[in-house]
């Protein structure tokens, strides 16, 4: 398979301006973003609220039009419509037809997707089973809980057995059990060789689920890659807590190793780069300090995210 066909989604330099109203100044929401998603991965499009995640997804789904730039899905320009039979989409916070039962709802989408009439009933039953709603198929959506709605929404996205699933904040507003159910569904889908594109602002979901991420802040991509590499790139550090050193000597050592310093009444604390821990300790002990503790400080995605937010703000 060629390099290109490995790329399921490709976004190149997309810009989006919104006009808040007639005569009002237009507002740039996406500042030329580019990223790509590979076949078979769970891709996390991550960023704080208002970063532009939903806007990007709506452009990919053809619901709004980019001001400039190009994007393709499965090698087709997003302006075409033929590839749409291979994708499923769960919008953010959707309210479905609440006058339908779960079964009627899925039947409607199955018919729209051209599922042959003879297969519809079976397909719908299987889908209800797959999203864990077999017991609620004949209840109106009006009576569904938020988690159940999110699951029937995923059922709707899966009705034509798509290759790629686009989920906008699939976990938001769910309790821990609801989130676990959605996670399990996403894993099942990936295990069948499909690709998932999900947006989220919840970092624990990213750490648990995603093979690859792009971080977007204020309409700009701050990082794209594996969450693990992302952590590796960050300089790890350690905290050394010690006592019994004169302030002037302490300052000398701090300057030599470029350590950050925090003093409390009893102890002093150095923050140093991981690969310098040995040298710093040696220097401290030589001058007669009593080392109280050494603690590695791993950068979490949370911190990186906050850094990215700060950088994006500049």
């Amino acid at each position: 398979m060629s390099e290109l066909s490995q790329e399921v989604v490709r976004v190149e330099d997309i810009v989006k301006d919104f006009r808040p109203g007639l005569g009002l100044k237009k507002k740039r929401v996406l500042h030329g973003i580019s990223f790509s998603v590979r076949r078979g991965e769970i891709f996390g499009f991550v960023g704080p609220n208002g970063a532009g995640k939903t806007t990007t997804l709506k452009i990919l789904m053809g619901l709004i039009f980019a001001t400039s730039g190009k994007a393709s899905i499965l090698g087709h320009d997003i302006g075409e419509s033929s590839f749409r039979r291979h994708i499923g989409y769960l919008p953010e916070g959707p309210y479905f037809y609440d006058y339908l039962t779960g079964r009627e709802f899925l039947r409607f989408y199955a018919k729209l997707c051209g599922v042959p009439r003879a297969q519809i009933a079976e397909r719908v039953t299987n889908l209800l089973e797959a999203v864990g709603l077999a017991h609620a198929g004949d209840e109106r959506l009006r009576n569904y809980s938020k988690g159940m709605l999110q699951r029937i929404g995923i059922g709707q996205a899966l009705v034509h057995d798509p290759q790629v699933l686009f989920l906008d904040e699939p976990m938001s507003g769910l309790d821990p059990i609801g989130r676990k159910e959605i996670r399990d569904l996403i894993w099942q889908f990936r295990d069948r060789g499909k690709t998932i594109f999900m947006t989220t602002h919840i970092l624990s979901d990213v750490e648990m689920l995603c093979d690859s991420v792009a971080i977007i802040v204020k309409g700009k991509i701050q990082y794209q890659g594996a969450p693990k590499d992302f952590l590796k790139n960050e300089r790890h550090s350690a905290e050394i807590v010690f006592a019994g050193l004169e302030k002037s000597i302490q300052a000398q050592i701090a300057e030599r190793f470029q350590a950050s310093v925090r003093d409390s009444d009893e102890h002093s604390q150095f923050g140093v780069a991981e690969d310098q821990v040995d040298d710093v300790l040696r220097a401290l002990l030589e001058k007669g300090a009593q080392v109280v503790s050494v603690t590695p400080r791993r950068a979490t995605l949370e911190m990186i995210f906050l850094n990215a937010v700060q950088e994006g703000g500049r």
Partner: protein, 277 residues
């Protein structure tokens, strides 16, 4: 063969024939629209009021010593037309707006369904609903007329038929406005066009009778551009037993179809380009 192309083959085989596919999608969306409408309370509220007003014609007519059947039927026709238009405009605009607001349209358009197909499905679903309601109101009208001893002739049925055609046109106008403006403005514009449409002959005649050249031209163009809705009004013929010729019925039917088609094409063009946000 990759999994994707194998899959493509499977679905394509399943959905042979582009036109059949498109018509099927329109029918599915239309069917769902009818279902949504008949499961909503507003519709029954309108219908109950309409039937009450048709029945109330009996009371109103008892106030008079002459022409009781005529007064009864005048009130009845007025009820059918008033509530028909109210349903076409308010229910029609409401249902289109709800699709966007509730983001149900997002999932539909992410399937291989074009915006135009969606809009046509919505339109035919709404027209079917409005016609269903008109039919029920006509039944109530006939029942009340029979009970009160008022005659019901072929012309009465023709009048209901043309009312139905008019409502199809009004629904197209309501849908057109709701493709690009808020429900409030869409309702205002639609009601405005409906009222102006009933005056469009008067405008033409006023213009023709006027001294001013500008006014003449204005009247003529107003009549040409606005829908000529008085052409659909056979209620006076029905109530007063004025004979109706074949062209009196056939011409408005063709006119409604042509005018609706043009409005729907304009609606599809604006709908294809808009941002859903």
């Amino acid at each position: 063969m990759t999994e994707a192309t194998a899959h493509e083959g499977q679905i394509e085989a399943a959905s042979n024939g582009g036109l059949v596919r498109v018509l099927g999608s329109i029918a599915t969306i239309a069917g769902n629209t009818v279902r949504e409408a008949i499961r909503s309370r507003v519709l029954y509220l309108f219908l109950v009021f309409a039937v009450i007003m048709i029945g109330a014609g009996v009371l109103v007519s008892t106030l008079s010593y002459v022409d009781r059947p005529r007064i009864l039927q005048d009130v009845g026709f007025a009820a059918v037309r008033l509530f028909g238009v109210a349903i076409a405009i308010f229910v029609g605009i409401g249902l289109v707006h709800k699709e966007v607001e509730r983001r149900t349209i997002y999932t539909i358009l992410s399937k291989p369904i074009s915006r135009s197909v969606f809009l046509l499905g919505k339109y035919f679903g709404l027209v079917a609903t409005v016609w269903l309601i008109t039919f029920v109101m006509a039944l109530a009208f006939v029942a009340v007329s029979r009970a009160a001893g008022a005659p019901v002739t072929l012309v009465h049925y023709a009048a209901f038929g043309l009312s139905a055609m008019e409502l199809g046109l009004v629904t197209a106008i309501a849908i057109f406005f709701s493709t690009f403006t808020s429900p409030m403005f869409a309702s205002l514009f639609s009601v405005g066009i409906y009222l102006a449409g009933h005056l469009s002959r008067d405008l033409r005649d006023l213009g023709a009778a006027s001294e001013s050249e500008t006014f003449k031209i204005f009247g003529a163009w107003a009549h040409r551009l606005l829908p000529d809705l008085e052409g659909f009004n056979l209620t006076t013929h029905a109530v007063y037993g004025i004979p109706v010729t074949f062209p009196d019925v056939a011409y408005p039917v063709l006119y409604a179809m042509g005018y609706s088609a043009i409005i729907l094409i304009a609606a599809m063009l604006t709908f294809e380009k808009r941002d859903f946000r």
